[in-house]
Symmetry: C2
Subunit: 279 residues, 2 copies
């Protein structure tokens, strides 16, 4: 049986590009989903083996649906992380003359907002479900549409690249994570991270100071802290912590144990290797 | 001259509802904008006097475009905060029989995701620019569309309420802020907050601990900490702090001065009164 890997489809999305780069052809079966949380839930339900989903972009920040689903709806482990540079293209029909509507996934549109406003100040910018769907709509339009998407999406739908690298910021990259039902095995050589999510006892983020103290006192390096709503009312938050190193390290295990004692609830998201996906 | 107040239009959005509630009729002129950041930029450019924009929702978290525009693109002050309960309705044509497509603003759809999936497991969920645009599309559809929006939007477009209060969580409220070119005058009686945004010297969020220490040592209460990408690469963040109290308080002024010294850059967003918009 080939390993099944879920991702945000359809064909031609950035997520598909990642998945095809990450695994060797013939060694896995890619399964497209219509939404990120649907892919994550399918892993939790045992319908697929794992999924590759975006979790953070360097311009737009967290992918909230990924964080919220991991925190509130499933019990899964992060088993690897891949950082991948994002390069956006403006795609249109070869014969198109004047662009009046620009379509793409809301996050892709946000990443190119300034460039698009400068190039097409009067065009209407419309969010759609995915960059691939945007390419499909553009191909099906009367020629007045353009899509922000990958060059792969352009190829699939026979579109021409009007402009390459239209992202507002050259340092644009996205972190993807792999989610599985079991934690990763003993860490291989190379960079490793550990992630956890918890709700801090007490309503005020001021309490975060006491949590950070547990890490700082033990020289544990945090690479990221992200708060998301606890969903119980304004002013109540859960926190995601990314830690440099593995749970197998004594100081990290001790810090996490101390943090656990101070939390309303706590979820270990596992230790996992981290890769750079740039080629 | 009437005061001009910008908000995310068109007619029938939640933002419009807030603005109409907040000011007395005949004392201001509401100016709808097609995007949140367009309203904020219009204040900075002196085209309008102020704007009312959403900044945080209790289910979906930060409104990133608001935070990013305040931090990176303009120099404005928060002059008041209003917390407003959000009640979503499912709106459709009176004669509609089977709903196959549900449209709304992405955040409204996200706030009703579970309820909608339970009610209409097979319907396609489509993000559009605003809840008002969703109502307009629904009114113009062949009857197969439903929109998530305010009851006001339903009225404007002659739609019927298929289901009321369809938000996934009853504790759903949104914080709106008013932005102006000058800070608010001396604080009136009642609750007051102070906000600032800064980039911490050093790439690692671990440094956040040193910043929080400045507040904790002086018994300054933080009501919120939010990180956003610094836009210079993955792993570099700016932080928004909301503080209970006013800059006129000695311990708060001292803490902020100490924080300033530890930052790459720092922006004072002002002290301002906070109101509860529930009626």
């Amino acid at each position: 049986m080939l390993k099944t890997v879920g991702y945000l489809g359809p064909q031609g999305t950035y997520s598909e590009e990642i998945v095809l780069n990450l695994y060797n052809k013939g060694e896995f079966r890619p399964i497209p989903f219509i939404a990120i949380d649907a892919a994550i839930r399918a892993v939790a339900a045992g319908e697929i083996d794992e999924c590759i989903v975006p979790v953070e972009n360097s311009l737009e920040g967290s992918v909230n649906i990924t964080l919220d689903t991991i925190a509130h709806d499933v019990s899964l482990f992060i088993t690897k992380e891949v950082v991948y540079p994002v390069r956006h293209n403006l795609l249109a029909q070869t014969s198109s003359r004047s662009i009046t509507t620009i379509v793409s996934h809301p996050q892709a549109l946000a990443q190119c907002r300034k460039t698009l406003a400068a190039m097409y100040p009067h065009a209407q910018v419309k969010p759609v479900d995915s960059t691939a769907e945007a390419a499909r709509l553009t191909a099906a339009s009367d020629g007045s549409y353009a899509a922000v998407g990958s060059s792969k999406a352009g190829e699939i739908y026979g579109l021409t690249v009007l402009a390459a690298d239209i992202q507002d910021n050259a340092a644009n990259s996205t972190r993807f994570i792999c989610l599985e039902r079991q934690p990763a095995g003993p860490a291989a050589a190379g960079k490793c991270k550990t992630s956890l999510v918890c709700q801090i006892n007490g309503e005020r983020p001021g309490r975060l100071y006491n949590i950070l103290q547990e890490f700082a006192q033990r020289d544990v390096n945090l690479t990221r802290i992200e708060s998301r709503p606890a969903r119980t009312g304004l002013g109540m938050y859960i926190f995601f912590f990314d830690i440099e190193g593995s749970l197998a390290e004594v100081n990290i295990a001790a810090a996490i144990n101390a943090v656990k004692m101070k939390c309303l609830w706590y979820k270990n998201l596992g230790s996992y290797p981290t890769y750079n996906g740039a080629k």
